[in-house]
């Protein structure tokens, strides 16, 4: 047949077209991902420390000591722990919450599906830099959260003291009043921190106000002594991550809502209707129809969450920069600091990068194993 005679020429044309189409993408991919990963492996085993890579100071392959250095560094372990908190919040916070939202919308338990979806996804389209700085301000000792808490504690404080000062007219300052104020405010208020001898000092202050009504005196007392919000917990290692974890939950839950909802909408609605007519209740619909249909999506979302969590950088960078004193360090910042802060330690930084990639692949592997064990037999 003519076909077999023409074949070699056609093949050659097809081959040429194939490579012309594939090579540009493949070259870009090799330059941006292929070569860097090889470079990363080589450098992590070397003693290269900056300067020209070729033709500069000689460097050589020296082995695995960067990796043992990492394992011996307490900062690595604290950074790793923080990354794991992020992974946990992502997999066991964002995913279930996103699932519940999607389910509530999908089953029409609430009206206006587009409205909720549209709102809850908003944080995803804003730059993490904006999100980081915004929340840093909200949590700061001068921010709105502090403002609200201080306002509440001031009101509480005033309500506490008002009865002591009487209704109106100038307040007569006496030892009796001073000791009652001290008793009401308690040891954490006036007494503890501020004065050497609380009773005498407080009396002096009250007398120095001159003859004022209870209102003014209360204001002064509140200004001086009402408990103020302090962000002390932000310098306690495990608690310091809390705001960051909260923001991560705040930011990305909407994305999983979108993913789950989109895949729920692919489920054949007749299946659910038929089950309901046969008397299945909502819980059974969830257990036997929706969950199995979504198992693949759930696994993929978990993988997405894990690889994102382990390489997250910019949000923490914008919120805390890893501080105070490195307690909110995560692996990516640990890596960045090793390369770009102080003398460059490229071998160390590259080893950290590879450890990040390896852990992320290992966790993805675990996810896949869990999927094989406990589901995913569908489809």
């Amino acid at each position: 047949m003519t076909k077999s005679i023409a074949a070699p020429r056609v093949d050659r044309e097809a081959g040429r077209a194939y490579w012309l189409m594939v090579l540009p993408a493949f070259l870009a991919y090799v330059l941006v991902m292929g070569f860097p990963i090889v470079l990363s492996i080589v450098l992590s085993l070397s003693d290269f420390n900056g300067g020209k890579m070729f033709g500069g100071a000689p460097w050589s392959i020296t082995g695995f000591q960067q990796y043992s250095k990492i394992l011996a560094d307490p900062y690595f372990w604290s950074a790793l722990k923080n990354n794991f908190y992020i992974v946990l919040v992502s997999v066991f916070g964002q995913l279930p919450l996103g699932f519940v939202f999607a389910y509530v919308i999908y089953r029409r338990i609430v009206k206006w599906p587009d409205f909720w979806q549209g709102i809850l996804y908003v944080p995803n389209i804003i730059s993490v830099i904006v999100v980081g700085i915004l929340w840093q301000t909200i949590f700061s000792p001068y921010g709105p959260l502090a403002d609200i808490i201080n306002g509440l504690s001031r009101r509480d404080f005033l309500a506490h003291l008002a009865p002591l000062l009487g209704g109106s007219g100038p307040v007569a300052v006496g030892d009796d009043l001073v000791s009652r104020i001290l008793a009401a405010v308690g040891p954490t208020g006036v007494a503890a921190a501020h004065f050497a001898s609380p009773a005498a000092d407080l009396k002096d202050i009250l007398i120095s106000l001159g003859s004022v009504g209870p209102k003014e005196m209360l204001e002064t007392l509140a200004n001086l002594f009402a408990p103020k919000w302090t962000a002390d917990f932000l310098s306690i290692p495990d608690l310091a991550m809390l705001p960051i974890l909260f923001v991560i939950l705040w930011m990305y839950t909407g994305m999983y809502l979108i993913l789950f909802l989109a895949n729920m909408q692919k489920i054949d609605t007749q299946l659910i209707e038929a089950a309901r007519i046969d008397g299945a209740h909502e819980g059974q619909v969830m257990r036997y129809i929706i969950l199995p249909a979504l198992s693949g999506t759930i696994v993929n979302s978990a993988i997405l969450a894990i690889s994102g969590s382990l390489s997250s950088f910019a949000l923490v960078w914008a919120m805390t920069g890893g501080g105070p004193s490195r307690i909110t360090h995560i692996l990516a910042i640990y890596m960045y600091d090793s390369a770009f802060r102080g003398a460059p330690q490229y071998p160390l930084a590259n080893a950290i990068a590879l450890v990040m990639v390896l852990i992320s692949f290992a966790l993805i592997g675990v996810t896949k194993i869990v999927e094989k064990r406990f589901g995913g037999k569908e489809e």
């Binding site: 991902m33 008397g279 979302s301």
Partner: protein
């Protein structure tokens, strides 16, 4: 068909409670989501003094002064054009290269497709942020540090794995008969690509555009290490400036953040449906 609540009055009460609970939860989370952003925008119109006196109320004397200052200090006039260049060029590049290679993978038989395509799919799992150190060294090695080329190259390369995966899977679903009959009529592969495939790939191109526009516009970690000159940086840097030494000037900080997020908010309001669909389609990792 009317969805009947199972039988008894008790069931109906339980359903009503569940409904109320669902509304409460959804409303709470929605307020928690939107209010901080609203609060930020609102406060960008207060002077720093007014903000410190009253952080929660509406601006009493709204002012645009913060915007004037933030615009200048953040050097947004330099950054915004760059953001547009990076976003448009890299998105166009990713779409074109992905569809082109996707066509070859899907419709031209080659023994190379297996390994090369697989290498791209593995790349979906690699986050390019973890490669920022070797990328930094590589652009120095290539002599393109501090150039737009470096940024564009990295953005395009980083977007390709997902792009190629989505494009290839999409083009596979186009009937091969279309390609074969054009071949029999004597059309070359590039002609087939241009006149048959390209027009049919609009849906996947839209998905890729959606995915890349938001990530590129907001990208910070990579550009931070690829260029050092302000002339070459993009929007997130302008905002990042207000996290350090300028962070106590709240008025300007809020104005800068509002400037930074406004374009994406507008983009979102305009294309919400497409964005949501694109994100759902792009979530195929693994």
């Amino acid at each position: 068909m009317q969805d009947k609540a199972p039988g008894s009055g008790l069931g109906r009460i339980a359903a009503a409670i569940a409904k109320a609970l669902a509304y409460i939860v959804m409303t709470t989370f929605s307020i928690m989501t939107v209010y901080p952003i609203f609060w930020l925008i609102m406060n960008s119109f207060k002077s720093t003094r007014e903000f410190q006196m009253d952080q929660l109320g509406f601006p009493q004397a709204p002012t645009l002064e913060n915007y004037v200052g933030a615009w200048r200090l953040g050097e947004f006039a330099k950054l915004i054009p760059n953001s547009f260049i990076y976003t448009i060029v890299s998105t166009a590049g990713i779409i074109f290269l992905s569809v082109l290679a996707g066509f070859a993978f899907a419709k031209i038989k080659s023994k190379w497709t297996g390994p090369i395509y697989a290498s791209f799919v593995v790349g979906i799992l690699l986050t390019v942020q973890s490669l920022m150190i070797p990328l930094f060294l590589e652009v120095n090695l290539l002599g393109i540090y501090d150039t737009r080329t470096a940024v564009l190259l990295v953005y395009i390369g980083a977007g390709l794995p997902m792009g190629i995966y989505l494009a290839t899977e999409f083009i596979k679903s186009i009937p091969t008969a279309l390609v074969e009959s054009a071949r029999i009529d004597g059309a070359g592969y590039f002609r087939i690509f241009r006149s048959i495939i390209l027009p049919m790939t609009v849906p996947v191109a839209t998905t890729l555009a959606i995915l890349n526009i938001t990530t590129t516009w907001n990208e910070f970690a990579l550009i931070n290490i690829l260029v050092s000159k302000t002339d070459l940086k993009s929007l997130p840097l302008g905002m990042f400036r207000f996290s350090g030494s300028l962070s106590s000037d709240y008025g300007k900080q809020f104005a800068a953040l509002t400037i930074g997020m406004a374009p994406m908010l507008i983009f979102y309001v305009a294309f919400r449906r497409q964005i949501t669909k694109g994100v759902a389609a792009g979530a195929v990792k693994g």
